[in-house]
C-alpha cells in the first residue's frame, strides 16, 4: 500500500502539469485568434 501511495505521489505532479499546460495553451490560442481578428499584436 505504501508503495502504491508513494508511486502516486511521484506521478501525480506531471498529470497536474499537463492539465495546466492544456488550460494555458487553449487560452493562448484563443488570444492569438482574437488579436488576428482585431488586427493587432498579441502583446
Amino acid at each position: 500500500m505504501e508503495t502504491f501511495f508513494l508511486t502516486l505521489y511521484v506521478l501525480i505532479w506531471p498529470v497536474v502539469v499537463a492539465g495546466v499546460l492544456f488550460v494555458v495553451c487553449r487560452a493562448f490560442i484563443s488570444e492569438v485568434r482574437q488579436a488576428r481578428r482585431e488586427g493587432r499584436d498579441i502583446v
Partner: protein, 567 residues
C-alpha cells in the same frame, strides 16, 4: 542510456545546435512583435492589457527558475519525501497569497510600471529607492544564478566550458530581449513554459520507471533515515519549509518581475492568472523535486558533492540522447524565462524609477531616452551578472537570504497600500532598523545564549504572527488578520521560545518581519497624516502620450487623471 555509471553527453555540436534552435526560435518570436519605434510604456508593461493565456504562462515561467528546480530536488534529496513539498508548495501558495494585495496595488495604481514607482507616489524618494535598490539586487542575483545554472548544465552535458556556456546563454537572452523588452519577455515566456512544462510531463515518469519504478521504494528504503521517510518531518519543516514560507512572501512582494506582470495583465484577469500560476508552479517544482527523492532512494551521491548536480546527473544517467535534449531545453527554458524577466525588471526600474522619477522628473521624461536607458541597463546587467557568475554562489542559501532581506520591506509596503497613516519616515526607519537587526542574527555575529536568545525568540514569535496575519489580511481583511496573528503567536510561543534561535535562517527572517512591523506600526499609529490614495493614480501613469504612439488610447485611465502630458 548511460552504461556502467557513465553519464550520457550531448556533445559540443549538438549542444550548440540546441542552443541555436532555442535562442533562434525565441529571437524569431521577438522579431514578430518587434516595432521599429517601440514605446517606453510598452517596453515596461506591454500596455497593461495582456490576456490570460500569456500572463498565466509568463507568471509561471518567471516564477520557475533553474535554481528552484535544483533547489527542490536538493530538498527532496536532503529531507526525503516531504522535502519537495516544503520547497514547492509554499513557494506556490505565496503566488496565491500575493494576488489579493496585487489587486489592491493595481486598483490604486492602474498604470504604474514598478512597485517602487508607486512607493514614490505614496511616500517619496527614500522609500522608492529602498525598494528599487532591493529589486535591483534581487534581479541581479537571480540573473547571475540563472547564468551559473546554465553554465553548470552545459559543462556537465557537453565538452564546452563553464565560461563558454554562460557567454552563449547571456548573449542568447540579451539578443531577444534587448529591442522589445517586456513585450518580448512575456511572449517568449509562453514558448518557454510550453517547453518546460511539456518536458516535466514526459521526463519525470520516464526517469521514475527507468530508475526501477515502484520497486524502488522497497529496494531503496534502507537509504532513508526515519526522518526522511516521515511525510510530516519536523526537520524538513523547520529547516526548509518554515524559512521558505517566511522568505517567499517577501520574495513575491519585493520582486519586480512579479510586480511587472501584475501591472501588465488585464485587471479583471489578475485572480485567474495568479491561481493558474500557483498550480503550474507548484506541480512543476514539486514534480521536479521528486527527482531528488528518487536519487535518495537510489542511494546516488551527487557529482562533486554538489546537490545542484542531482537533476542533470539523473537525466544524464537515465535518459537517452533524445530525451536528454528535451531535458536540456527544459532547463535552458527555465533559466532563460527568468533571466529575460530580470532584464525587463531591471530596465524598467532604471527607466521609471531612476531616470523617469529621479533624473528627468516624470513630466519631463523623454520616452526615447527612457528606451535607451532601458537597453543600456540590459547590456550592463548582463555584463555584471557574467562577472558575478564566475563566483558560483550557493543557490539555496542565496535564495533564502534575498527573501529574508525583502522580509523587512513586506509590512511597510503592504501597510502603505491600505493604511493612510503610514509615513515616509515610518517606512524608512522600520526597514533600515529591521535590516540592522536581521543581518547579525542571520549570520550569528553574537551569542544567543541566555536572555539574548529568549529576546530574539519572542521577536520571532511576533514575526510568525505577522506572516500569518498578513496572509489572512489579504483574503479576509483586518479583524480576522489580527485574530490569526495573535492566535498564531500565542499558540507557537510555548514551543518556539527557547529554541527557535538555533535556526538562524528562520529566526533572521521572522525577526526582520517583526522589527519592521513593530516600528512601522508605532511610528504611524499616532501620525496625523491621512494620505489620499487617489493621488497615486495622478502621480503614476504613462510616460508616452497618445500622440507619440500615433493613435489615441481610449483605454488610458491615466490620461484622464493626469491632464498634464507626461513629458
Amino acid at each position: 542510456m548511460a552504461e556502467n555509471g557513465v553519464l550520457t553527453q550531448l556533445g559540443g555540436v549538438l549542444t550548440i545546435a540546441l542552443l541555436l534552435v532555442f535562442f533562434g526560435g525565441t529571437f524569431i518570436m521577438a522579431m514578430i512583435i518587434r516595432k521599429k519605434k517601440e514605446n517606453a510604456d510598452g517596453y515596461m508593461t506591454a500596455g497593461n492589457k495582456i490576456g490570460f493565456g500569456i500572463s498565466a504562462a509568463s507568471m509561471t515561467a518567471t516564477w520557475i527558475w533553474a535554481s528552484s528546480m535544483y533547489a527542490s530536488a536538493t530538498s527532496g534529496y536532503t529531507y526525503g519525501i516531504s522535502g519537495p513539498i516544503h520547497y514547492g508548495l509554499w513557494g506556490a501558495l505565496m503566488i496565491l497569497f500575493i494576488y489579493p494585495f496585487g489587486k489592491r496595488i493595481r486598483a490604486v495604481a492602474p498604470r504604474a510600471h514598478t512597485l517602487a514607482e508607486v512607493m514614490y507616489a505614496r511616500h517619496g524618494r527614500s522609500s522608492q529607492l529602498m525598494l528599487a535598490g532591493s529589486n535591483i539586487l534581487g534581479s541581479l542575483i537571480s540573473l547571475t544564478s540563472n547564468f551559473i545554472a546554465g553554465g553548470a548544465l552545459i559543462t556537465m552535458l557537453s565538452p564546452l566550458s563553464f565560461g563558454q556556456g554562460i557567454l552563449i546563454i547571456a548573449a542568447g537572452i540579451l539578443l531577444y530581449t534587448l529591442w522589445s523588452g517586456f513585450r518580448a519577455s512575456v511572449l517568449t515566456d509562453f514558448a518557454q513554459v510550453l517547453a518546460m512544462l511539456g518536458a516535466v510531463v514526459i521526463i519525470i515518469p520516464i526517469i521514475f520507471i527507468a530508475a526501477g519504478g515502484p520497486s524502488l521504494f522497497v529496494e531503496g528504503a534502507s537509504n532513508l533515515s526515519p526522518e526522511q521517510k516521515n511525510f510530516f518531518s519536523s526537520d524538513a519543516f523547520l529547516n526548509q519549509g518554515a524559512p521558505y514560507i517566511a522568505a517567499v512572501l517577501a520574495y513575491a512582494i519585493g520582486n519586480q518581475t512579479i510586480a511587472q506582470r501584475l501591472f501588465a495583465v488585464r485587471e479583471d484577469l489578475i485572480k485567474k492568472t495568479f491561481v493558474t500560476a500557483t498550480i503550474g508552479y507548484g506541480a512543476t517544482i514539486i514534480g521536479i523535486g521528486m527527482l531528488g527523492v528518487i536519487a535518495l532512494y537510489l542511494g546516488i551521491t551527487p557529482l562533486d558533492g554538489d546537490t545542484n548536480n542531482l537533476i542533470p546527473q539523473l537525466a544524464a544517467t537515465y535518459l537517452g540522447p533524445v530525451l536528454l535534449c528535451v531535458f536540456f531545453i527544459m532547463i535552458i527554458g527555465s533559466l532563460a524565462s527568468t533571466a529575460d524577466s530580470d532584464l525587463a525588471a531591471l530596465s524598467s526600474i532604471m527607466m521609471a524609477d531612476v531616470y523617469g522619477q529621479n533624473v528627468a522628473g516624470r513630466k519631463k521624461a523623454n520616452p526615447r531616452v527612457m528606451l535607451l536607458v532601458g537597453r543600456i541597463t540590459m547590456i550592463v546587467a548582463v555584463a555584471g551578472a557574467l562577472f558575478f557568475a564566475t563566483g558560483q554562489m550557493n543557490i539555496l542559501d542565496m535564495l533564502v537570504f534575498v527573501g529574508a532581506l525583502w522580509g523587512a520591506l513586506v509590512f511597510p509596503v503592504i501597510a502603505s497600500f491600505y493604511w493612510n497613516k503610514v509615513t515616509n519616515a515610518a517606512f524608512t526607519v522600520s526597514v533600515l532598523t529591521a535590516l540592522a537587526v536581521f543581518i547579525p542574527v542571520r549570520f550569528a555575529w553574537f551569542s544567543m545564549d541566555g536572555v539574548t536568545g529568549i529576546f530574539f525568540d519572542i521577536l520571532s514569535v511576533v514575526g510568525i504572527g505577522v506572516v500569518l496575519g498578513l496572509m489572512a489580511f489579504g483574503f479576509f481583511g483586518k479583524k480576522p488578520a489580527v485574530v490569526v496573528g495573535i492566535v498564531a503567536s500565542v499558540a507557537v510561543a510555548p514551543f518556539a521560545i527557547g529554541f527557535l534561535h538555533d535556526y538562524a535562517v528562520l529566526s533572521g527572517s521572522l525577526i526582520a518581519y517583526a522589527v519592521s512591523t513593530i516600528i512601522c506600526y508605532f511610528m504611524s499609529f499616532r501620525s496625523k497624516q491621512r494620505f489620499d490614495f487617489e493621488l497615486i493614480k495622478e502621480r503614476t501613469g504613462d510616460f508616452d502620450t497618445p500622440d507619440e504612439l500615433g493613435t489615441p488610447d481610449p483605454t488610458s485611465q491615466a490620461s484622464d487623471l493626469a491632464p498634464t502630458p507626461s513629458r
